[in-house]
C-alpha cells in the first residue's frame, strides 16, 4: 500500500516535470496566469498574424509596460472599455514592452493587480528599434500608445499618450464605426 502511494507520487512528479519541460520548449509558449489572462510572446511573425488574422473583428491594440506610470493609470479605463464592448465586434489586446523574462516577476502581478480582462502579449524582438518598426514605423516609441485596426487589419488610428474611457469610446465609434 505504502509502496503504491510512493509509486503514485513518483509518477505524478514525473508527469508534472515533463509537462513543465514541454511547455518551456514550446515556442511562444502561453503561460496560464491565475487571472483571466494568458501571456504570449510576440515576435515579428506573430505580430503580423495578430494584425492580419482578424476573423472579422476590429482590433484595439494598447502598447504598454509595467514601468510606465501613465500606462498603469490608463489600465482601469481599458478594462472598463473591454466590459463596455464585450458583445461588440472588437478585440482588445495589450502588448507589453517589458522583457519576456519578466512575465512572472512583473507582468503577471501587474495584470492581476489591474484585473486585466483582455489578452496580453509581451514583445519578443531583438531591439527597441525592431520593436518600434514591428508595431509601426510611424510610432515615436513613447508609451502608452494605442492603435485601432479595422476588420481587415488596416490601421485606422494611432493614439499616443494616456487617454480616458470617453476619449477611446469616441475614437472607437468614429474610426471603427462601432456604437
Amino acid at each position: 500500500m505504502m509502496l503504491n502511494r510512493q509509486a503514485l507520487f513518483f509518477a505524478l512528479y514525473v508527469a508534472v516535470y515533463f509537462i513543465a519541460a514541454c511547455g518551456n520548449d514550446k515556442k511562444n509558449a502561453r503561460i496560464q496566469s491565475d487571472s483571466y489572462n494568458q501571456i504570449e510572446k510576440l515576435d515579428e511573425k506573430g505580430f503580423k498574424e495578430l494584425i492580419e488574422n482578424r476573423q472579422g473583428k476590429t482590433l484595439f491594440l494598447n502598447v504598454w509596460a509595467t514601468w510606465c506610470v501613465p500606462c498603469a493609470e490608463e489600465f482601469p479605463d481599458l478594462v472598463r472599455l473591454k466590459n463596455a464592448y464585450k458583445d461588440k465586434n472588437i478585440e482588445f489586446v495589450g502588448l507589453s514592452a517589458d522583457y519576456p523574462d519578466e512575465i512572472e516577476s512583473k507582468i503577471l502581478p501587474f495584470i492581476k493587480k489591474h484585473n486585466v480582462n483582455f489578452e496580453i502579449y509581451v514583445k519578443d524582438v531583438a531591439s527597441d528599434q525592431a520593436f518600434i518598426n514591428m508595431v509601426d514605423p510611424a510610432w515615436n516609441g513613447g508609451l502608452p500608445a494605442t492603435f485601432l485596426y479595422d476588420e481587415n487589419g488596416v490601421k485606422k488610428e494611432y493614439i499616443l499618450g494616456k487617454r480616458d474611457f470617453s476619449f477611446f469610446k469616441e475614437r472607437i465609434e468614429q474610426a471603427l464605426d462601432i456604437i
Binding site: V69, A97, A126, D128, Q129, N140, G141, G142
Partner: protein, 194 residues
C-alpha cells in the same frame, strides 16, 4: 556683345538662384535648431551658443522617474566622461512638468550625472525640437544643424545592446565623416508636457 552680356547676367542669376535654393533645401533636410537659453538646476543660464566652440553638442532629453531614462544613467555618465575629453559638449534637458528643479538636482547628484541639466519649463524646447520621449538625443554641429537624432543605443539592458548609434555618430563626427545613420527611433517614456 550685348547679347553675351545679357546671357552672362542671366546665367549668373540662375546659378545664384539655384545655389540659394539648394542651400535652403539642404538646411531644411538636415534640420536646424534655433539658439535658446534655459536655466540649469542651479539656476545658471545656458545658451546653446555657449557651446559654439565644441566639436559637437549632444542634447539629451532625460527624466528623473522614467525607468528607461534611468536605465541609461550610467551609460550617459560614461559617454559624458569619454567624449567631453574629445571636445563634445553634453547638455541634459528635463521637460517633464511632473519633475521639479529640486528633483532634477537630487537625481543628478544621486546618479553621478555631471553634465548640466536644464529645466525646460512648459516644454518649450521639447516642442520646438519635437522631442517626445526620454531618453531622446539630438546631436548638433556648431551651426546647430541636427547631425543625429534618436536613441543612445538599441536596448535599455546594457548587456543586450547591439547598436551603439549615438557613440557611432559621435565617432564619425569627430573623424570628420558623414554620420551614416542620422535617425534612429528613441524608445522610452512619453515626455509629460503641459
Amino acid at each position: 556683345m550685348t547679347v553675351n552680356y545679357v546671357q552672362r547676367r542671366f546665367l549668373t542669376l540662375v546659378i545664384t538662384l539655384l545655389f540659394s535654393i539648394s542651400t535652403q533645401l539642404l538646411a531644411a533636410d538636415a534640420g536646424r535648431v534655433e539658439n535658446f537659453t534655459l536655466a540649469d538646476y542651479k539656476g545658471e543660464k545656458h545658451a546653446l551658443s555657449d557651446y559654439k566652440e565644441a566639436k559637437a553638442i549632444v542634447l539629451m532629453f532625460i527624466a528623473t522617474r522614467c525607468p528607461v531614462s534611468n536605465a541609461y544613467n550610467e551609460r550617459m555618465a560614461a559617454l559624458y566622461e569619454d567624449y567631453t575629453q574629445k571636445g563634445v559638449a553634453f547638455v541634459g534637458i528635463n521637460s517633464n512638468k511632473t519633475e521639479s528643479v529640486d528633483e532634477v538636482k537630487k537625481h543628478a547628484a544621486e546618479n553621478g550625472l555631471l553634465f548640466p541639466i536644464l529645466k525646460d519649463e512648459n516644454n518649450v524646447i521639447a516642442d520646438k525640437l519635437e522631442a517626445s520621449v526620454t531618453p531622446e538625443i539630438y546631436v548638433l554641429d556648431t551651426n546647430f544643424n541636427v547631425l543625429y537624432h534618436g536613441s543612445i543605443d538599441d536596448s535599455r539592458r546594457p548587456d543586450q545592446v547591439k547598436s551603439n548609434s549615438l557613440k557611432k555618430a559621435l565617432d564619425e563626427i569627430l573623424a570628420s565623416e558623414q554620420v551614416s545613420e542620422k535617425e534612429t527611433k528613441a524608445f522610452g517614456c512619453t515626455i509629460k508636457k503641459v
